[in-house]
């Protein structure tokens, strides 16, 4: 959340942390409001103020807010889990994707079975000469046989323990 309160009222969180004057052109002040001191503290601990400043300066202004938020997310993940950081969360989500793919495969197989059983329903017995028509009109437009092929692509194949931290919700 970009803030423009910056240096007019109080120094931004970065300049407070670094104990320096927060100038009007401070690169950090739009993105590190004074009410969120932990955000900068984490980012500084993991990346360092100088590296963050260089990175932000290399980006266009409209990209900086997202960059800061993703850096803050990564930094918090690394502070909570110094060994795996965000990679632990990736591993956790990949396992969820694996599990869901298996559930999808099983559900698709069930669907095919049910649909096949429905179209192969036995005809009425001959002595009744029944005109019963089961009225199966084709199963509703072909959707029943729609097997979506897997399109999950995994970036790599680490095997890490389950992510134990919180806040892994993809919301930046």
């Amino acid at each position: 959340m970009a803030s423009s309160t910056g240096s007019y009222n109080s120094p931004c969180a970065a300049c407070k942390f670094l104990r320096r004057k927060c100038t009007p052109g401070c690169i950090f002040s739009p993105y590190f409001p004074p009410e969120e001191p932990h955000k900068f503290a984490n980012v500084h601990k993991i990346f360092g103020a100088s590296n963050v400043s260089k990175l932000l300066n290399e980006l266009l202004p409209h990209q900086r807010e997202d960059a800061v938020n993703s850096l803050a997310f990564e930094a918090e993940a690394r502070v909570r889990d110094p060994v795996y950081g965000c990679v632990g969360a990736i591993s956790f989500l990949q396992r969820q994707v694996d599990r869901l793919q298996k559930e999808l495969d099983a559900a698709n197989a069930d669907l095919i079975r049910y649909a096949a059983a429905a179209t192969q329903a036995p005809p009425p017995p001959p002595r009744h000469r029944s005109a019963v028509d089961y009225g199966r009109g084709g199963g509703g437009g072909g959707g029943f046989y729609n097997q979506t092929p897997s399109s999950f692509t995994f970036p790599y194949n680490y095997h890490f323990p389950t992510w134990n931290g919180g806040g892994v919700d993809g919301n930046i």
């Binding site: 360092g48 990175l55 993703s70 990679v87 869901l100 669907l111």
Partner: protein, 128 residues
């Protein structure tokens, strides 16, 4: 001694001591690995992170730091967080697909039940 410097000490242009924190994880044959972490985190921060960990966990930490650094260099705005977002979207899509398939199964089952109830052969004939 120069030839046995690790990638970090070569990059930092310094002597590589025997207890160098970087040398087990940044061998000299892979200079890019240290270059990435140095660019994103800085040598000092990486050293502190590794120093604070038990020795048996440092290799994994170095690997994940390298991975995240390489992703940040490829994508300076989102870094590795983009993968998390993509995975999250895949999970949401999979949940929707699963719900749709289960609804389709429920429709078929419901139709089967209705057909069974409406089938005159389901009940014993009364006028035979």
């Amino acid at each position: 001694m120069n030839s046995s410097r690790c990638a970090a000490c070569k990059h930092l242009r310094r002597r590589c001591p025997s207890d160098c924190i970087f040398s087990p994880y940044f061998p000299s044959n892979n200079p890019q690995r240290f270059a990435f972490v140095h660019k994103i985190y800085g040598a000092s921060n990486v050293g502190k992170i590794l120093q604070d960990l038990p020795v048996n966990l440092r290799s994994k930490a170095a690997d994940t730091l390298c991975y995240e650094a390489s992703r940040r260099i490829e994508d300076p705005v989102y870094g590795v967080v983009r993968e998390l977002t993509n995975l999250d979207e895949e999970i949401q899509k999979a949940h929707c697909q699963l719900a749709r398939i289960r609804a389709q199964i429920a429709v078929i089952q419901a139709r089967d039940e209705v057909d069974n109830v409406n089938n005159p052969n389901f009940f014993p004939p009364q006028n035979d």
